[in-house]
């Protein structure tokens, strides 16, 4: 009986290890500067609408369905269902007078995607649709 109580306690504490507090969940922890650099690229164009259309076309190619899009704010949100769920928001805004800045952030199941590779893959696909090179931003 004692062992079973111990098991239950241990099970709860192991599960608790995976759960951050709600404060941590709302205000994402970790290095935001590094994450932002993974998630952002600049393109040599000033055409916001064409950039947004390329983002939408790329997301469709990658199997996403658009949930929301707003040209004024330059945002597109989309969901991919492929046996798993990915939600993603891409924003487009001017950078200086010659470039557009594209930033993407995504979550897989209930976790933010914070590794650089998925974003690299996304920008490789996007630059093909834009016929422009995705430039790393410092």
């Amino acid at each position: 009986m004692k062992l079973e109580a111990l098991a239950a306690g241990l099970a709860l504490s192991v599960l608790a290890l995976g759960c951050a507090s709600s404060k941590d969940q709302v205000l994402a922890a970790g290095s935001q500067v590094q994450l932002r650099s993974y998630q952002t690229r600049a393109f040599d164009t000033t055409d916001k609408k064409a950039t947004l259309r390329s983002v939408i076309a790329t997301l469709q190619d990658l199997g996403f369905v658009m949930d929301k899009a707003d040209e004024t704010l330059g945002t597109v949100s989309a969901t991919k269902m492929s046996g798993y769920l990915i939600r993603m928001t891409v924003t487009v805004r001017p950078r200086g007078t010659t470039q557009m800045l594209v930033r993407a952030n995504a979550q897989y199941q209930n976790e933010a995607i914070e590794s650089p590779e998925p974003y690299q893959d996304f920008f490789v696909a996007l630059q093909k649709a834009m016929f422009l090179t995705a430039q790393q931003v410092d």
Partner: protein, 181 residues
């Protein structure tokens, strides 16, 4: 041999650790953001070309087809050529229910698909070379829940026939719009 009284506890610990590991470390498939070798094939299946008219006319006709098919428009951004729509329908398939009941007789808790939400994303654009040539691409997904409310499927619908039938309806609708009948 009599089973050890500790076995249940050991199993519970093992199961808890496995569950915690699985929930914390569900890894993103490496190809989730990569164009696949069949990207081009899918693009062809999901895209049609329409000559004449304006992109806005085409988008309006598309909204009409979605309404004909019982979809509710959830998002539209006409300047970006986008319409997203969805409908919730039954997902019950007789074979699956019969199978579930048979499993129930054998003591397994029966589960079957009950409801589904079908989501459609329709995107239009105009040819760079010829402003009177427009394209529409449609992608469809569905979410399926069992009778207990648990999510059982989240998948893309890729049956070519569904896309062919959808575009047949759209061609008809574009023709009707163009003719103003």
């Amino acid at each position: 041999m009599r089973p050890s009284p500790h076995r249940g506890a050991v199993r519970a610990i093992g199961a808890a650790i496995l569950a915690a590991t699985a929930s914390a470390c569900a890894t993103l498939p490496v190809d989730a953001f990569r164009l696949s070798p069949d990207t081009l094939e899918k693009r062809h299946l999901q895209t049609r070309r329409f000559d004449g008219g304006t992109e806005t006319d085409l988008l309006a006709a598309s909204a009409g087809v979605l309404q004909d098919l019982g979809f509710t428009i959830e998002e539209s951004a006409s300047t970006l050529g986008l319409i997203s729509a969805s409908k919730t329908r039954s997902a019950v398939e007789t074979g699956q229910v019969v199978g579930a009941i048979l499993l129930g007789i054998l003591g397994v808790t029966p589960v079957w698909d009950k409801d589904q939400k079908i989501r459609v994303c329709l995107v239009s654009w105009t040819s760079r070379e010829n402003p009177s040539v427009h394209f529409v691409r449609v992608t469809i997904q569905r979410l399926v829940w069992d009778q207990k409310g648990g999510l059982t499927k989240a998948e893309a619908i890729e049956d070519p026939e569904i896309y062919q039938l959808f575009f047949a309806r759209l061609s008809e609708s574009v023709f009707l719009e163009a003719q103003k009948i």
